[in-house]
Amino acid sequence: MTQSTPGSFKTGKGKVKVPFLERGINHLAGVIRKGYVQWEVSSRNGFFQKIDARVKVLFLLFFIFIVSLKGTILPETYIWVFVFALTLFSRLSILKVYKRVLLLGFLFGFLVALPSAFNVITKGEIILPVVRLSKAYHFWIYPIPADIGITREGIYGVAMLTMRVINSLSLSFLVLYTTPFHEIMRALKVLKAPDSFLIIITLCYKYIFIFSKTIEDMHLAKKSRIVRQLSRTEAREWIAGRIVFIFRKTQLRCEEVFKAMIGRGFSDTMKFYGFRRMRKADWCASMFLFFAGIFFLFI
């Protein structure tokens, strides 16, 4: 300790790589934190940002209901165009919003529904043959035809489901990106969402930010002490250890925050201070969105 490290710096070969798993977690934590901050400080000059949160929450519920009722692609496309226009008027970054919408739509809409496009599941006219078997089989309750391929009806079903998912996501992102979190919570409270649900959501939201920051800090603290390449096993062990640490820390923080809430008089209900009165502009916007919804409902 009393002696300094001997020797001077010598140049040499070799690079130290941060393990993929760790980089991935750190990146995810960064994305969460960035998203959280962007959400809270997002510009409030667009069309949708100016509307009262209650109107937006009702709009979201009403339109998701309409989207799930539609049985053909054309009205779904009209709805998509309408939401796209609203996103544009709200001055949101189209690229940023639709990158997420399309990625999630692809994962949870297209990929999930894709198997149903085959004639094994959806009978119909094959438009894209994939495999030809020597004969037809019967496996458990499924008859497997000799010609396996994608059917017209199947692909229509996949497209329909993907459109529904994309529309629901576009609507959700439009509302989320134009409404600060606490306003959504207040709107839900006004709309009589249960208090326990609101408490859980609020605390989870807060924790996600705090712990994404903790994860980033832990990653940096480790990075500052790394002098060699870590093996995958070491990386996995470190991550497993940190997960346990975070879990414990979450528990402790949860207890502390709850004590702080009790200390400030919390008993069992969430109390928010009242909303501002609905302005003329809010009423106009709500009428416009309502009639747009009615239009889409009947086309």
Binding site: I210, A260, G265, S267
Partner: protein
């Protein structure tokens, strides 16, 4: 507020307080000092009814503060309205979306009308000079601002007793100075202040009545600030001061180290 032979241990195994008895009178400035891990925070938690003693009693205005009594709606309100607690870690205390929400949280929980709650919030913001932070979320505040908001969030409840856990910890000198002045002003306004700290200069500045916690979690001594801070042997025993070597130019010498009252050089 009175504590009678209070004992507390975490998970029934790790002792945190042992036979602690205290008497805090109305309008008093009271400091609980002790090294890290002596039980200062635990003591404040007990005084705020957040945890309850395994033995002994905590009394507020003659009534016991226990799990049972805090289940009574009237007493719970009576107690929470009158005793406010500022946590050491402001992040724990700031759980609302914006500063204004933080300030309104307490009054709204106490069913104070919206108009009055807002009036209180604006008054406190003005007093703490945080009006410009009104709509900011807590994670966008500096440590000093967070501390001010945390104190503000309790002040809007207008408590008679304020429990402050390490209020000056991690703050810059200017904010520390602001805080000391604020504490004195609150005391002038007849608020009872109980401060847990290991900052001896703060205790000296506040001229508080002092209780010293030892490392075996007992109250080692109670007395006036002069009685306690001049007792070098006691402070050494409870690890609040220590001997260290430092240099004045070419001369190195050793003395008992404390930032205010005991910093003297033997010739």
């Amino acid at each position: 507020m009175r504590l009678e032979k209070v004992c507390y241990s975490y998970h029934d195994r790790i002792p945190a307080l042992s036979e602690a008895s205290l008497d805090v009178t109305e309008g008093e400035r009271f400091a609980i000092i002790g090294a890290n891990g002596t039980g200062k925070t635990t003591l404040l938690h007990l005084m705020n009814g957040l945890i309850h003693p395994s033995r002994g009693k905590v009394l507020f205005k003659g009534r016991e503060v226990s799990k049972e009594t805090l289940r009574e709606r009237e007493f719970l309100r009576f107690f929470r309205e009158r005793v406010g607690y500022v946590f050491q870690d402001s992040d724990v205390q700031l759980f609302c979306p914006t500063v204004l929400d933080e300030l309104l949280y307490g009054p709204l929980q106490l069913d104070i009308g919206e108009k009055e709650a807002l009036d209180r919030a604006y008054e406190v913001m003005k007093m703490l000079n945080i009006e410009s932070l009104r709509d900011r979320p807590s994670y966008m505040l500096s440590a000093g601002e967070k501390k001010k908001v945390a104190i503000g969030s309790v002040l809007t409840m207008n408590p008679e007793v304020l429990l402050l856990d390490e209020p000056t910890n991690g703050l810059d000198p200017k904010t520390q100075c602001f805080l000391v002045e604020l504490i004195l002003a609150l005391n002038e306004a007849n608020k009872t202040l109980v401060i847990a700290t290991h900052d001896l200069s703060l205790v000296d500045e506040l001229q508080a009545t002092v209780a010293v916690l030892s490392e075996d979690h007992r109250i080692e001594k109670k007395g006036s600030v002069d009685e306690v801070l001049r007792d070098e042997g006691l402070l050494l025993k409870v690890n609040l001061i220590h001997e260290h070597i430092h240099r004045h130019g070419e001369i190195a010498h050793k003395h008992v180290h404390s930032h205010y009252p005991l910093h003297r050089h033997d010739r």
